[in-house]
C-alpha cells in the first residue's frame, strides 16, 4: 500500500531492550521508519513511549539491541535531529527571537544567519508579530509554536515530538496539528510523535504504533491509509473516524 521505492530506513530499532534497574521498560522493539514518514506512538501510561523517543534521540541508551539514525549512532546523528518537549521548554529569560536562535547559537553560527533563520522559522509558525515577547507573555499554544520554530532552525531530518500538545485546549491543538502537517509536507522530515490522543495520532500519521505496558512492546502497527494532503475537513471524514475508533480500541485493549 505504501510506496517502498525510497525505503532507506531513517531510523531503525533492532531487538531493542531498555531496563531501568530491575524494571524492563521496553522489550524487543523492532521497527523502522523511512524518510518522510510520520509515525505516532500511542499506548497506556507507562508503556515507555517517551523513553523510546529519548532512546532515538540518544538521551537514553539501550540495555540491549541497536538503534540507528541515518546510519549512525544517535549521539552522532544529533545534528540531524530535533526534539520537541512536553512543555515548550523555552528559556524564561530570553525573548522569542533569542529562544528560537538558541540551537544555532550553540552551534556557533554567525549572528546574521541566526537572526535570519530564526525570523524565517517564526514566520512559518505565524509568530512574526511576537519576536520581542518573553515566554511568560505568550499563550501555551504560542509557546509551543516557538518551540517548533526553534526545532526547525537546524533543518532536522528527524523530528522527535514528546506529547507536545498534551496540555493545550482542543482548538489550539487542532490548529497546531494542521500547521505541523503543512510544514511536514514542505520539509519531509521523519517524525516520531508521542501522544495520548487517538484522533491526533490518526490525523497526523501514516503509521500508528500501539505499545503495550509493563513491559512496553509493540502490540500493533496500524497503517493510516488516508490522503497525504489533510486539512480540517478530514476530521469529519468517515474513513478518518473509522481509524480513530480502531486506534482507540487498540489502545484500550492492549495489555
Amino acid at each position: 500500500m505504501t510506496t517502498k521505492s525510497n525505503n532507506i530506513p531513517m531510523v531503525q530499532l533492532t531487538q531493542a531492550h531498555k531496563r531501568f534497574g530491575e524494571t524492563t521498560v521496553l522489550e524487543d522493539i523492532n521497527f523502522q521508519a523511512s524518510k518522510g514518514e510520520f509515525i505516532s506512538l500511542v499506548g497506556p501510561s507507562g508503556c515507555g513511549k517517551s523513553t523510546l523517543l529519548k532512546i532515538i534521540a540518544g538521551l537514553h541508551s539501550l540495555s540491549e539491541g541497536e538503534v540507528v539514525v541515518d546510519g549512525m549512532n544517535p549521539k552522532n546523528a544529533r545534528e540531524e535531529m530535533a526534539f520537541i518537549f512536553q512543555e515548550a521548554n523555552l528559556l524564561p529569560w530570553k525573548r522569542v527571537q533569542q529562544n528560537t536562535e538558541l540551537p544555532l547559537k550553540l552551534r556557533g553560527e554567525s549572528t546574521e544567519r541566526r537572526v535570519e533563520t530564526a525570523r524565517k522559522m517564526l514566520e512559518l509558525v505565524n509568530l512574526s508579530h511576537a519576536l520581542d515577547k518573553f515566554p511568560w507573555q505568550l499563550s501555551g499554544g504560542m509557546r509551543m509554536r516557538v518551540s517548533i520554530a526553534r526545532a526547525l532552525t537546524l533543518a532536522p531530518r528527524v523530528l522527535l515530538l514528546d506529547e507536545p500538545f498534551g496540555a493545550l485546549d482542543e482548538m489550539t491543538r487542532d490548529n497546531l496539528n494542521e500547521d505541523l502537517l503543512r510544514i511536514h509536507a514542505r520539509d519531509q522530515w521523519t517524525a516520531f510523535f508521542v501522544t495520548h490522543s487517538a484522533a491526533e495520532a490518526v490525523f497526523l500519521s501514516n503509521k500508528v504504533v500501539v505499545l503495550s505496558a509493563n513491559p512496553g512492546r509493540i502490540s500493533q502497527v496500524i497503517e493510516i491509509d488516508l490522503p497525504k494532503e489533510r486539512n480540517a475537513e478530514l476530521r469529519e471524514d468517515p474513513a478518518y473516524l473509522n481509524y480513530v475508533a480502531k486506534v482507540s480500541n487498540a489502545i484500550r485493549t492492549v495489555h
Binding site: 526534539f83 538558541l102 550553540l106 552551534r107 515566554p135 511568560w136
Partner: protein
C-alpha cells in the same frame, strides 16, 4: 471611590497608630518620671522629644558613624555575594566537591559569629577588616545555600535540549545553569542584604574603634551607653533602623532590576 478611600486608609492608619504609640510612650515616660524623678526617667525611658533633640544635637557624629557602618556593610555584603557565588559554582561543579565541602560550610555557619568575632579581632585588629569579615560571615551562607540549590536544580528538559544541541559544558554553564540559578542567587543576595547592616553593627560592637576619628554605629552604642547618654542611644537605634531600610531598599531594587525580564513565578522563588 473604593480604591481611593482604601489608599487614604492605608496611608492614614500607620500614621494614626504611630501617634497612638507615641502618646502611650509619652504617658509611660511621664508616669515613670513622676514616680522616680525625671533624672532617672531620662536614662531609662526618655520622652520622644528628648530622643529627637538628641538626634539633632548628635547629627554630625551619628551621620559619620552611619557612613562608616554603611561602608562596612557594603564591603562585607559585596564580599559575601562574590565569594558566595564563586563557592557555589565550585560546589555545583561536581557532586564530590559538594560532598567534601558542604558539611564544613555548615559547620562554619552553625558556629555563632559572636563567638568568632573576638578571634577575628585577634587576627586582624580593631577596625574595618574585622568588621567586614564579621559582616561577610553572616551574609555569605544564604548566598551559597540558595545559589548552589539553583545551580543544581536546572530543569531536566532544558538540559536535554542543550544536550540535543551538542552544547559544550561551558555553553551549558554560561547559557543555562547560571541564568537559571539567577532567581535563587538573588534570593540569597536579598537575605545577605538584610543581614549585612546587622552584621556590620554587630562587628562594630566587637571591633569598632574611633581610630581615624570615626567609629561605626556599634561603637556609638557602646560609647553612649558608657556615658549614660540614653536619649542618644535611642537616637542611634533610630538611625540604625533607617540605615537598614535604605540598605534593604537598594538590594530589593537590584533584585527587581535583575529579574524584571522574568516571569512573576520565577520572581516568586523568594519569600522574604
Amino acid at each position: 471611590m473604593a480604591t481611593t478611600s482604601k489608599k487614604i486608609q492605608s496611608a492614614l492608619l500607620p500614621i494614626a497608630s504611630g501617634i497612638i504609640i507615641l502618646a502611650i510612650w509619652n504617658l509611660i515616660s511621664y508616669l515613670y518620671g513622676r514616680s522616680v524623678g525625671y533624672d532617672v526617667q531620662r536614662i531609662i525611658i526618655p520622652f520622644p522629644h528628648q530622643i529627637a533633640t538628641a538626634l539633632w544635637s548628635e547629627r554630625e557624629a551619628l551621620w559619620l558613624s552611619t557612613r562608616q557602618t554603611a561602608l562596612s556593610a557594603v564591603i562585607g555584603f559585596i564580599a559575601a555575594v562574590t565569594v558566595g557565588y564563586i563557592l557555589s559554582m565550585l560546589l555545583a561543579s561536581a557532586v564530590w566537591v559538594k560532598k567534601a565541602l558542604y558539611p564544613w560550610i555548615l559547620v562554619l555557619q552553625m558556629t555563632p559569629v559572636v563567638v568568632l568575632a573576638p578571634i577575628f579581632v585577634l587576627w586582624m585588629g580593631q577596625g574595618l577588616p574585622s568588621i567586614t569579615a564579621i559582616t561577610f560571615m553572616i551574609g555569605f551562607f544564604p548566598v551559597v545555600a540558595n545559589t548552589t540549590m539553583g545551580l543544581v536544580s536546572t530543569d531536566r528538559n532544558l538540559l536535554d535540549l542543550f544536550e540535543m544541541s551538542n552544547a559544550s559544558k561551558a555553553q551549558e554553564i554560561m547559557y543555562l545553569r547560571v541564568p537559571f540559578a539567577m532567581p535563587y542567587f538573588l534570593t540569597g543576595m536579598k537575605i545577605a542584604g538584610t543581614l549585612a547592616p546587622i552584621g556590620a553593627i554587630a562587628g562594630d560592637l566587637f571591633a569598632g574603634s574611633s581610630q581615624g576619628g570615626v567609629g561605626g554605629i556599634g561603637y556609638m552604642v557602646i560609647l553612649y551607653n558608657s556615658q549614660l547618654k540614653i536619649p542618644e542611644l535611642f537616637a542611634t537605634a533610630l538611625v540604625a533602623c533607617m540605615l537598614g531600610f535604605v540598605f534593604v531598599g537598594c538590594v530589593n531594587w537590584l533584585h527587581w532590576y535583575l529579574l524584571k525580564d522574568w516571569h512573576e513565578s520565577a520572581r516568586k522563588t523568594d519569600n522574604t
